[in-house]
C-alpha cells in the first residue's frame, strides 16, 4: 500500500517538470516544422502559402549556407583544438605544487564567468583595435605592422575571443579529472623509473580520454550556436566571413523577416546538433549506470 502511494506521489512530483519540458520541446519544434513548409514573410503578411520543401531547397543551395557551414566548422574545430591543446598543459601545470594555487586558479577560470557581450566588446576594442588597441601597441613595440583584426582576419578574431572564453572550461574539467587520478599509480610508475613524459603518455593521458571527450562534446554543443560574440563584433561580416549557421538563421528571421527559410534553416541546425547530442547522451548514459 505504502509503496503504491509513494509511487503515485513520485509520479505526481515528476509530472510538472516532464510536462513543461515536453511542451517546450514539442510546440516550438512542431511550429518550426510547419513554418518551414510555408512561404511566409513578415514583410508580406497574409501571403502564407504551402510550398513543400522549397524552403529547404532554397536554404541548402543558397551560397550563404555553404559559407556559413564552413565558418561554423572552422570556428568549432579551431576553438576545440585551441582549448583542448592549451587546456591539457595548463591543467598539468595547475596540478603541480604551485604556491598560491587558489589565486592562480581563480584567474584562470575568470573568463568563463564574463558575459559574452562583455568579453567580445572588450577584446574588439581595448585589445584588438588596429590603432589604439593593446595588441597594436605591442606589435609596434616589435616594429611590426598592427593587424587590423576585424578587417583582415575577422574569423580568427572571433575564434580567439571564443577560445579565451572556453579555455577555462576545458582546463577546469581536465584539472578536476587529473586530481581524481590515483596518486599512488603515478608514484609507482615513478618508482619503476618511468620518466615524467612516459608517465604522462601512459597513465595521465589514457585517464583523460573520457574527460576530453566530454569537453569536446559539450563545447561542440555550445559552439555550434555561438551568437552574441558575432552579433556585437562583426554582425556576420565583412560579407559573410564571420556568419555561422546560427547567425545566418537569425539574420534570415529577424533582419530579412523570412520566416519560412529561417525555419528550414533552424531544422538543419537541430539536425546537426542532434548528431553531436546522440554521442554525448550515450556517454553520459553509460556513466549513469556505473
Amino acid at each position: 500500500m505504502a509503496t503504491r502511494q509513494t509511487q503515485l506521489l513520485a509520479r505526481t512530483l515528476l509530472t510538472p517538470a516532464v510536462g513543461l519540458l515536453f511542451i517546450w520541446m514539442i510546440v516550438p519544434l512542431a511550429l518550426t516544422i510547419y513554418f518551414s513548409t510555408l512561404h511566409y514573410s513578415l514583410l508580406d503578411p497574409g501571403s502564407e502559402s504551402f510550398v513543400g520543401l522549397e524552403n529547404f531547397r532554397y536554404f541548402l543551395t543558397d551560397p550563404a549556407f555553404l559559407a556559413s557551414l564552413q565558418n561554423t566548422l572552422v570556428l568549432v574545430g579551431s576553438v576545440l583544438a585551441l582549448t583542448v591543446l592549451l587546456g591539457i598543459p595548463l591543467a598539468l601545470l595547475l596540478d603541480q605544487p604551485v604556491i598560491g594555487l587558489n589565486i592562480v586558479r581563480l584567474m584562470v577560470i575568470a573568463p568563463f564567468f564574463v558575459m559574452p557581450t562583455v568579453s567580445a566588446l572588450v577584446w574588439k576594442n581595448l585589445l584588438m583595435h588596429p590603432v589604439s588597441g593593446l595588441f597594436a601597441w605591442i606589435a609596434s613595440l616589435f616594429g611590426l605592422t598592427p593587424i587590423d583584426w576585424f578587417t583582415d582576419a575577422p574569423l580568427l578574431a572571433v575564434i580567439l575571443i571564443v577560445s579565451w572564453q572556453w579555455l577555462p572550461f576545458a582546463t577546469l574539467i581536465l584539472l578536476t579529472a587529473m586530481q581524481s587520478l590515483d596518486e599512488e599509480q603515478k608514484e609507482a610508475a615513478e618508482m619503476d623509473g618511468a620518466s615524467a613524459v612516459s608517465t604522462f603518455i601512459y597513465i595521465t593521458l589514457p585517464h583523460l580520454a573520457r574527460p576530453i571527450t566530454v569537453v569536446i562534446l559539450i563545447e561542440t554543443i555550445f559552439l555550434l550556436t555561438v551568437f552574441a560574440e558575432i552579433y556585437v563584433t562583426t554582425g556576420g561580416g565583412p560579407g559573410l566571413s564571420t556568419t555561422n549557421i546560427a547567425f545566418l538563421i537569425y539574420s534570415q528571421a529577424l533582419i530579412q523577416y523570412d520566416v519560412g527559410t529561417a525555419s528550414a534553416g533552424g531544422l538543419v541546425a537541430v539536425v546537426i546538433a542532434n548528431i553531436v547530442a546522440f554521442f554525448l547522451v550515450r556517454i553520459v548514459g553509460r556513466n549513469l549506470e556505473a
Binding site: L9, L126, Y250
Partner: protein, 276 residues
C-alpha cells in the same frame, strides 16, 4: 638531492602557473583599469598601465546617461526569477527520480538532457512569433520563462546527482521510525540537501545572468538585462571605451564573485555529472 629537485620544481611550476594565470586574466584586469581612466587615456598610445589619473566619473556617467540600475535590476529579476522557478519545478522531480526510481527513470533523465541539446536558434522563429502575438517581447516575465525552461534540464540533473548521494539508509531508518513523507522531507532530506541546492542555485544564476541568445533577441530596452545593455555599446556612436569598461566591470563583478565560489559545482553541473 631529491629535496633540491622538488624545491626547484615548485619554483618553476609556480612561476609558470602565475605567468599563464595572469595572461589569461589580463583582459579582465585591463578592462577594470580602463574603467578608471578618462576617455582620452583609455585610447592613449602608448597606454598607461597604472600611472594615469584615476577617476570614478565613468561609473557616474554610465548611470546618468543610460539608467544602468534599471538594467541591473532586470538582470537580477530575470536571473533570480528564472532560477527560483526552475528550482521549484526541479526539486520535486529530482527528488522523485532519486528516491523512487522506476525502470524509465534513466530514459527520462536522458530525454531531459537531450532537450538541452536543441540549439536555441532552431526554435527562434516560433518563439519570437509566439512572444510577439502574446505581447511578451521585451518583457521580464517572458525572459524569466524562457531562461527557466532553458536551464531546467541542468537544474534537474544537478539536483538528481546530489540527491543520489544522500544515503538511502537514513531515509529508511526515518521511515522505520514512522516518519511520514512530509516529515521525512523536512527533517531528514532538506538539511542534507542544502549544500547541493545551494550550488545548483549558484550555477544556474551564473548561467542565466550571462545568457546572451534569448536576452539579445527578445529584449530591446525596458526589459533589457545587462547582456543586452552592454551590446548597445557595439554601435559606433557608443564607442566610449572607459564607459564601456565601467559598465562591463559592474556587469561582471557580482557574477565573478559568485562564480569563484562555485568552481567545483561548475564542473559537475556543466558535464551533467559525467566528470566529478
Amino acid at each position: 638531492m631529491a629535496r633540491m629537485a622538488t624545491r626547484q620544481r615548485v619554483v618553476v611550476s609556480t612561476i609558470g602557473a602565475w605567468f599563464f594565470g595572469f595572461l589569461i586574466f589580463f583582459p579582465i584586469l585591463w578592462m577594470v583599469l580602463a574603467s578608471f581612466k578618462t576617455e582620452l587615456e583609455a585610447f592613449a598610445i602608448p597606454p598607461s598601465f597604472l600611472f594615469f589619473h584615476w577617476t570614478t566619473e565613468n561609473y557616474a556617467t554610465v548611470q546618468e546617461r543610460s539608467d544602468y540600475l534599471l538594467h541591473a535590476m532586470n538582470s537580477i529579476i530575470i536571473a533570480g526569477g528564472s532560477t527560483l522557478i526552475a528550482l521549484l519545478i526541479a526539486i520535486p522531480a529530482a527528488w522523485s527520480m532519486a528516491f523512487s526510481p522506476t525502470k524509465r527513470t534513466k530514459d527520462i533523465l536522458l530525454w531531459m538532457l537531450s532537450t538541452k541539446m536543441m540549439p536555441p536558434v532552431g526554435v527562434l522563429v516560433p518563439i519570437y512569433l509566439i512572444y510577439k502575438s502574446f505581447g511578451l517581447l521585451d518583457s521580464r516575465i517572458g525572459l524569466v520563462f524562457i531562461l527557466c525552461l532553458g536551464n531546467l534540464p541542468i537544474v534537474i540533473w544537478m539536483l538528481f546527482t546530489y540527491f543520489k548521494e544522500i544515503p538511502r539508509d537514513i531515509l529508511e531508518a526515518a521511515r522505520m521510525d514512522g516518519a511520514t513523507i512530509g516529515r521525512e522531507l523536512i527533517y531528514v532530506l532538506t538539511p542534507m540537501a542544502i549544500p547541493g541546492l545551494a550550488s545548483t542555485m549558484l550555477l544556474n544564476l551564473i548561467l542565466a545572468w550571462n545568457e546572451a541568445f534569448w536576452t539579445l533577441n527578445l529584449s530591446t530596452s525596458n526589459a533589457a538585462p545587462l547582456t543586452t545593455f552592454i551590446a548597445s555599446y557595439s554601435s559606433p556612436e557608443g564607442l566610449f571605451w572607459a564607459k564601456l569598461s565601467a559598465a562591463s566591470t559592474l556587469a561582471i563583478a557580482p557574477i565573478l564573485v559568485l562564480g569563484w565560489f562555485s568552481q567545483k559545482q561548475l564542473v559537475r553541473g556543466l558535464t551533467f555529472g559525467a566528470v566529478k
